[in-house]
């Protein structure tokens, strides 16, 4: 299908992008990797009046080490994160997550900023961001991940606000992300992440609710000495996932428990 007509503007700086967004108002969208937006436009489920293409902004594609933090420019592509030596060393779970997003074609285009700003419940980076207390830096402010993923496809971003950076803490202890799906290029039916950090565990879950979930009950149980298998039973505490074509709510809760157990056991 052919998308509805729109105005296209190429921004060469964050300021320009923000200004363009302000000019076009509510009906404008930011175009980064485009792999969520363009299919929706082709189906005419999204019909933005204008697209502000930020791909030409040069200084948004970077991975920087900053003491105990890793800073990812919003336009950093999945493929870059997947193969980055520094990510593999300082935050290997993110490289692994990146390597399991979509397929090569998606990873060559998709960006970390785009995934975070889109806030799809099935997105993988948001889970890691939430679980590790990452920060989302925009052209206006810095927002803690726990305050960022409000609801499905819902973030506190204003219409002319642009994600410019995602900041993760360094975490290179034992870790595992298990993305359970039918086919390799599918979204997660349920994903479970485990990361050993500062002597404790961080546990995150993907696609078990409208937002990513940090399984604190599991983290606490592990902290008080529970075995992975016992602790993982708490992974579904408080979850109320919706069913879809791939999984019933009960099955998702079950998977949350099983995958959490496996993630902890397989973390290395």
């Amino acid at each position: 299908m052919i998308p509805a007509a729109f105005e296209y503007a190429r921004a060469s700086s964050v300021e320009e992008a923000s200004k363009l967004l302000k000019t076009y108002g509510e009906d404008a969208k930011v175009l980064a990797g485009g792999h969520s937006l363009i299919p929706l436009m082709r189906l005419r489920l999204a019909q933005p009046k204008a697209l502000v293409d930020i791909n030409g902004i040069k200084d948004l594609d970077y991975i920087k080490e900053d003491g105990s933090k890793l800073r990812f420019g919003a336009l950093t592509r999945h493929v870059t994160i997947e193969h980055s030596a520094v990510v593999k060393q300082k935050l290997p779970i993110l490289a692994e997550v990146a390597s399991e997003i979509g397929d090569n074609q998606v990873r060559n285009m998709g960006t970390i900023g785009g995934v975070v700003a889109h806030a799809d419940a099935a997105g993988d980076y948001p889970t890691i961001a939430l679980m590790l207390d990452a920060e989302i830096v925009t052209n206006r402010r810095t927002i803690a991940a726990k305050d960022f993923f409000k609801d499905i496809f819902t973030t506190p971003l204003a219409a002319d606000e642009i994600v410019i950076e995602v900041v993760f803490p360094v975490a290179n202890g034992p870790h595992k992300y298990i993305k359970f799906r039918r086919r390799l290029f599918d979204w997660a039916i349920v994903g479970a992440a485990a990361q050993k950090m500062n002597g404790g565990w961080r546990i995150g879950l993907t696609n078990v609710g409208p937002t990513p979930v940090r399984a604190k009950a599991v983290e606490e149980a592990l902290h008080t000495g529970a075995k992975p298998e016992e602790a993982a039973q708490h992974a579904s505490d408080g979850l109320n996932p919706s069913g879809d074509l791939r999984a019933s709510p009960e099955y998702k809760k079950h998977l949350a428990r099983v995958l959490t157990k496996r993630a902890i056991e397989q973390a290395e």
């Binding site: 299908m1 052919i2 998308p3 509805a4 007509a5 729109f6 105005e7 296209y8 190429r10 175009l31 485009g34 792999h35 363009i38 299919p39 082709r42 189906l43 697209l51 293409d53 791909n55 493929v79 979509g102 397929d103 090569n104 074609q105 998606v106 060559n108 285009m109 298990i178 993305k179 359970f180 799906r181 039918r182 086919r183 390799l184 290029f185 995958l259 496996r262």
Partner: protein, 172 residues
């Protein structure tokens, strides 16, 4: 509103005025006249439209033509040189890596990218590397063989043994 877009397609400079909503794949097919790149879906899942943009495999249905400004584009038509088939094309022919042929250009381009990143892939790496392309005819068996064979021809290979353990259908 129309936008000027200058690209290099298979080594030839192209300049056109295009509508902002024109998808890159439609630009290639309808404006440039290269119909070898096909469209198989609306939702960026089938990979039939895969081309190389600055050497990277990209779905040309998920990019607007205006975004290709200044880029080097390679399509299936640019793979054979001086009347000689690209080793991947030859391998797809030799190994019966195609049936109806509709998905084939996308597979060849995705495989070209794969081999540019990993000249000597294992069978498992080939399977994973082609996950973004759907074929309804071949069951992929001979596509995988084709890529293995091309890797050999292209000199990447003291091919690693084919060893592929269990295949998980559904699961992690």
């Amino acid at each position: 509103m129309k936008h000027k877009v200058s690209t290099t397609v298979n080594g030839t400079r192209r300049e056109h005025e295009v509508e902002s909503r024109l998808l890159l794949v439609h630009y290639l097919r309808d404006v440039v006249g290269l119909t070898g790149t096909h469209i198989g879906c609306d939702t960026s899942q089938c990979g039939a439209c895969t081309i190389l943009v600055d050497g990277k495999a990209v779905m040309s249905c998920t990019m607007f033509a205006v975004q290709a400004e200044g880029k080097q584009l390679t399509t299936i038509e640019g793979m054979a040189k001086d009347g000689e088939l690209h080793p991947l094309q030859q391998a797809f022919w030799d190994e019966h890596g195609l049936q109806c042929g509709y998905c084939t250009p996308g597979f060849i381009m995705a495989a070209a990218y794969l081999l540019s990143q990993n000249p000597n892939p294992t069978e498992d790496e080939i399977r994973r590397g082609l996950e973004g392309n759907l074929c309804r005819c071949t069951g992929y068996v001979n596509i995988i063989k084709s890529v293995q064979s091309a890797a050999k021809t292209m000199g990447g290979a003291k091919a690693k043994p084919a060893g592929r353990p269990a295949v998980t259908a559904g699961g992690e």
